[in-house]
Symmetry: C2
Subunit: 364 residues, 2 copies
């Protein structure tokens, strides 16, 4: 049974140092504690642990990345630097679909199927709403009970603090650590209703959209842009009396996809039916994903997309940093509310306001 | 006939000063020329002219805003400052639809209808592709021949240089000048295929989507997000044998719109049929737009949206400025290609690269 894939496990880092010496000698406790703390600030502690496949340490390193303390994040960045040379050896799969489509059950069943075939599977999530709703998509581990107990799997809920940009960046960094820890399949789950799909699409090799039969895409709240990004549409819950409807939906979506321009990848998006309950269709899905990988590795699109994604993330991070430094500037924080007021009252043009604020920021 | 709404008119600003004295006395020519040039750098020259409704001067002021010379743009900003207090008294209408839907003919006929009812109509455009195709949507004036000769109308093609952000900002600024010049209806045209709709939506009060009967929205290339923004869908070319098909399409789109959540404006999007050729439906469209204005002015949504838009543009301009200063920094320009290379070759993480570049930029 896996020990490390639960960040809610009540093992506090500093307490570990207290439990182990089993002595009341205060000096020795303090020395051990100090040594332990020093060790916990050393990037090598995490890098070595991650490269050895220790998922307790992997979990702790992700916590550093997600921390709001800059000291932790600095250590986290050094851990990423040490891991990046060992990353990249995985297939990254994005999975989306509206609430109720059965994403968690699908990932539970599909993930278990993959581990049975010898794969190590990490499941991550991007859910920027988690900070509002107070819980992430994967916050409730009971929804993936079997997979969360599986030694070949690692489940990590969505980072919960910050903007979509910040949440996505943390997940992007977590991918690097998981790959360095030996996970060869990374599944990134998101909810199919907004901008977060674009963020997920910018970090995966293959994008899978889960749908239900018997509901128009309008009813399912799926935006057309998301359908256009899909490398595969899987119509879930194709079991029992639902099988016929699912087959009809398959034809319908196949026709709809024909209206789109072909993808640069050379891959024509597939539509399949499946059932997380009966496991029907799962092996077909995996076979098609492998076909996609073979095709795009051969025609070099796989590598090309990864390179483009790395570049994209460099620019995204740059722009996020520029914005963050500006809006956290003390002078700007003081002035901004007044400028906003003048602009909304039409006493100052939006452009003049921006120009003045930039001047102040630059100390001119 | 309007003199000023054609920026391709071969009247060079400095030449005007030469033509008028009708004398060969070089000294007097030079003095006149000098005086004229000084005048052309004075914001008041433009502000006075615009407030007097002189559309030749309005045209020249827009050229300053669009100029690539910072001296011109500085004068342009001062002109905007002088005009902003006189702006805002118009109804701003965004019109979109894919090529072939008949946008130009619609605006020609609808604009002419509006001027006959005593309105002064300015037609602007946002077409970021114009820099690629070499011509803007409205570049070919012959497409709006009648309206371009109409004294109550002013047609200005899309600014052609720069990113969508830059093109949109210039159009946003041009709205202020047109309003100060007394135009009470501003029509902003864009092509219904991408991000430019979002930019237009962020600067108009009412958003009109033109569609054709007999083609699915997939075939028309309209993204669902654009349909969601529409306050009205007008099915164009509802004439002759096409009338029946157009009526059927009207029912279809009405049903589709019912699936969306109601808008904050309290307005339920309308679907109508019209014909730019026969003018059928134009008075209904105008009546509905006025209904929208009445409703949203009463429930304060009109004012609220304008305030939100002004704020949005302040932040957009701030972020554009931060990006532009960073990417035009000499040190960054030298380093960026190498960093990009290291990142795409997976020798450096996207995040480390961004952090290093920010350090260099800040001189740390």
């Amino acid at each position: 049974m896996s020990e490390g894939n639960d960040k809610t496990k009540p093992t506090l880092i500093v307490n570990e140092g207290i439990e182990q010496p089993h002595t009341l000698n205060t000096e020795s406790i303090n020395q051990y504690r100090k040594k332990k703390i020093v060790r916990l600030n050393e990037p090598d502690y995490y890098i070595d642990g991650i490269l050895a496949g220790d998922i307790t340490i992997l979990s702790k390193a992700i916590t550093l990345i997600e921390s709001s303390l800059s000291k932790h994040r600095e250590t986290g960045q050094k851990v990423i630097d040490g891991c990046i040379g060992h990353s990249g050896n995985s297939l990254r799969i994005g999975i989306t679909g509206v609430p109720g489509v059965g994403k968690s059950s699908f990932i539970e069943t599909f993930g278990t199927y993959l581990t049975k075939n010898g794969n190590k599977v990490a499941v991550l999530a991007i859910d920027p709403s988690s900070q509002i709703s107070g819980g992430s998509i994967l916050g409730d581990k009971t929804r993936m009970e079997e997979l969360s107990r599986n030694e070949m799997a690692f489940i990590r809920p969505s980072p919960s603090a910050g903007s979509l940009g910040g949440v996505a960046r943390k997940t992007r960094e977590t991918i690097i650590l998981c790959e360095a820890a030996g996970f060869n399949i990374i599944i990134i789950e998101t909810v199919g209703v907004g901008q977060s799909e674009i963020a997920v699409h910018s970090m995966v090799d293959f994008f899978l959209l889960l749908m239900l039969a018997g509901a128009g895409d309008e009813l399912q709240g799926i935006k057309r842009g998301i359908m256009e990004m899909a490398d595969m549409i899987a119509i879930n819950k194709a079991d029992g009396e639902n099988i016929h409807k699912a087959k009809m939906a398959k034809v319908e979506y196949s026709n709809a996809l024909h209206l789109y321009a072909p993808s640069e990848s050379g891959w024509f998006p597939k539509v399949v039916t499946c059932s997380a309950r009966t496991s029907a269709g799962l092996s077909d899905i995996w076979k098609l994903i492998k076909d996609f990988e073979t095709l795009t590795r051969q025609n070099k699109f796989f590598e090309l997309r990864r390179r483009e994604q790395a570049k994209y993330w460099m620019y995204e991070t740059l722009i996020e940093s520029l914005k963050s430094e500006f809006f956290n500037d003390e002078k700007i924080k003081v002035l901004l509310p007044n400028f906003e007021k003048m602009v909304t009252n039409n006493n100052l043009s939006s452009f003049k306001a921006a120009a003045e604020l930039i001047k102040v920021y630059k100390g001119e």
